[in-house]
Amino acid sequence: MTSVTYHDVRLMEPAQTRNYLNVDYGFFSWLLTRDHKRIAILYMISVSIMFILGGFFAMMMRLELLTPEGDLLTSDTYNKFFTLHGIVMIFFFLIPSIPAILGNFILPIQLGAKDLAFPRINLLSWYLYIIGAVIGLYVIIVGGVDTGWTFYTPFSTQYSNTHVFGTTFGAFIVGFSSILTGLNFIVTVHRMRAPGLTWFRLPLFVWAIYATSLVQLLATPVLAITLVMLMVERIAGVGIFDPALGGDPLLYQHMFWFYSHPAVYIMILPAMGVASEVVAAFTRKKIFGYKFVAFSSLAIAFLGFLVWAHHMFVAGISVYSAMIFSFLSMFVAVPSAIKVFNWTATLYKGSVSWQTPMLYILGFIGLFTIGGVTGIFLASLGIDVHVTDTYFVVAHFHYIMVGGAVMAYFAGLHYWWPKISGRMYPEWWARLGALLVFVGFNLTFFPQFILGYVGMPRRYHAYAPEFQVLNVMSTAGASVLAVGYFLPLVYLLWSLRFGRKAGPNPWGAVGLEWTTSSPPPKENFHETPVVTWDAYDYPAMLKAMGETQNV
């Protein structure tokens, strides 16, 4: 392995024995660590546990929906399961997944920094996450919550007799974890870049995480205060959103979606960043239209704030404001389309490798496209009246969040796994996993588009018998999907011990993270790197490598 201009890897050889994993040992060396890489590992473990938990709830729901009658679970249990599935997956898996795991690990290295700007706050974020998760688990153990992840009033404040307070409090706490992570990333990007690393030399993953952090920073506090008001109302019995006491439940919805719509972009923007990294690395090419892709991240982050009431088109908002929000929603589609087109164009004359991360990302582009265009359906007012609150919406947002965000998370996990663990995963099994996920996903969620349009409402425990065939297809797909998600868990753990040792740059990719050893040393680089090249500068690499060699 030679890779010259960037950094002479051979200089690091003696240091390779000492890395962030083996620099010190013991329980407290992890629990009190301020090393962003170790905190990323802590997140990876805890977030994976929550993913399995959320997946369990999903599986139970799909099993229940095999038959129309609702005979496996009681209505209350089913209602709790879809609520907990939503809360666990959104607040405890999707939002922290890419930023807090991959972002935490990779972002400072991509910037050539020794750590994030505020390492102690980074650790605090993880502890806040854990406190929120523990509260969430406590709620699950003592009986759960049945409001739906949206906590709509007045159901949540006056009518539900489940643990609404505990759940909202957990979400409130984990919100601060998200805010502090975003704050840390933004300051780091502004103040900790290596010498020579100008804005337009930044990898697109950094741009995407930066845009994500903006959303986390500016949207989450509004959710926090909304949940505070909800908790006050529930505890003190005063009417902030209670219509009987003069409150307006639609105000709750406005404030909730002011956060929760941009929250979708907290999930998908980092996924887009991973996609850009992987597409560049596995075509060995600069991303087509780099600046357009970079700025489209910021555009999505901003425009994402202007569209929230498209969740409320039939809720009783004024017809005129519905039009405004529909109009603005159409704008968000543009930067997303820009990205899809540019990734596609990057393949042209590339050197396309069909390795696992790329397989995931090719799947991601396809599924995200479907999720995106069905978003146009929902933003078109007349159609939304029919399909909102049906399975069409369920299918749409799973295409974005699972087909988009989770596929990209797995892509990123595989792409950076050699860097994180120092080992290669078994390629054949990984490709099989990617294929299973893709097939299983489509089988699960494509029938739900049809289900939605023929009229099956979401959050139904029992349903009309004519919907059964499509539901059975969906459950069958979910089983395949579950196997697809289970495989990586097994082979990634396996690879920790038995995987082939990875060199500093197993993919032949460019980027600062591939110039340091795998796993990286505690302070990331043996000396502060000085950047003199653009992002994805593969021609320079070609020159540097002289004779090509296999990877």
Binding site: S75, P154, S326, L347, Y348, H386, D389, V454, G455, R459
Partner: protein, 335 residues
């Protein structure tokens, strides 16, 4: 439209005037976005195969991104998105605007049932009888949480809110039984809050109407009006202590702060439940609140009565005015 023959439904039945229009937009969108997506998938697949990594292309050739291409794939989709917006909004206005002379029905959502009341006095639960080819206007409110009245085969849906009237309409084009669903999650038996709308030929509908009823909704409202002694103040002439209600519905009312409002359903509702909120100019804040004293069903009856005062010339029979029943201003009920 096509009734697709399959072991399971691929497309919902079209049973209202709106349905074909929603479907037209839906099919337009499906074709355009489906075609676009397919093109992208094929391109990706083609490029990924043709430019797959081989020993002779270990490194890619660099291509400079032409700005014209970027601009093109910003502008072209944008035009398409805007056409979706215009078409969708046009349809939304059609769905929102209630046609003239509709047949009125009143609906109440309650955990976990739909209650319907007809102006002629019929009441039904989870079933709604309506005539075919006639616009039906539904005025609705919820007794507890937010529900959503959803007629999938009519392609219309509207959330039903507590403490506020909302309206929706449809005009069925086929007779038969069609689903009613609650589309907004409302608690334990949300999925049991379903029913059927029974669309009938006008003659059958008349026969159904002739069935049992406790008198028209407005007349039930009138009885309630007297029982609650509203008529002691709201007299038919200017001698009363309250405003005249005849001709009130739909008119412009000048309030004590000189602002003007339209006396629509929500105004009448608020004036019953919270009379001090919007005082008519020239009248004192003497009316007690009826919050917690009248149910949602009774409110709808009173509303129907007040609305009926517009249409019919004033009924000449006048009840002998008894002693005004003193009302204790009820403190608002709280849970």
């Amino acid at each position: 439209m096509i009734a697709l023959v399959a072991p399971f439904p691929l497309f919902p039945e079209q049973a209202s005037t709106i349905a074909p229009q929603t479907d037209a937009l839906f099919i337009f969108l499906s074709v355009v976005t489906g075609g676009m997506s397919l093109l992208i998938f094929l391109t990706i697949f083609y490029l990924a195969v043709v430019y797959r990594r081989r020993p002779d292309n270990e490194l890619a050739q660099e291509e400079e991104a032409p700005h014209s291409l970027e601009i093109a794939w910003i502008i072209v989709p944008f035009i398409f998105f805007m056409s979706c917006f215009v078409w969708g909004s046009w349809l939304y206005f059609k769905i929102s605007r209630i046609p003239d002379n509709p047949l009125e029905v009143y609906a109440t959502g309650k955990q976990w049932m739909w209650k319907f009341q007809h102006p002629t006095g019929q009441r039904e639960i989870n079933t709604l009888h309506v005539p075919v080819n006639r616009p039906i206007k539904i005025t609705m409110a919820s007794e507890d949480v937010i529900h959503s009245l959803f007629f999938p085969y009519f392609r219309v849906k509207a959330d039903v809110l507590p403490n506020r009237y909302r309206t929706m309409w449809f005009q069925a084009t086929k007779t038969g039984r069609f689903h009613i669903f609650c589309a907004e999650y409302c608690g334990t038996s949300h999925s049991g809050m379903v029913g059927w709308v029974d669309v009938m030929e006008p003659t059958d509908y008349q026969k159904w109407l002739a069935g049992g009823s406790e008198g028209s909704l407005a007349s039930q409202g009138e009885k309630l009006f007297q029982k609650l002694a509203c008529n002691t103040c709201h007299t038919e002439d200017t001698t009363g202590r309250g405003p005249i209600l005849k001709g009130l519905y739909g008119s412009r009312v000048t309030l004590s702060d000189n602002s003007e409002v339209t006396a629509d359903e929500n105004y009448i509702r608020e004036s019953i439940l919270n009379p001090q909120a919007k005082l008519v100019r020239g009248f004192g804040p003497i009316m007690p609140t009826f919050q917690g004293q009248v149910s949602e069903d009774e409110l709808l009856k009173l509303l129907a009565y007040v609305k009926s005062l517009n249409v019919a010339p004033a009924l000449s029979r006048r009840e002998p005015a008894g002693e005004p029943v003193p009302h204790t201003p009820a403190k608002e009920t709280k849970r």
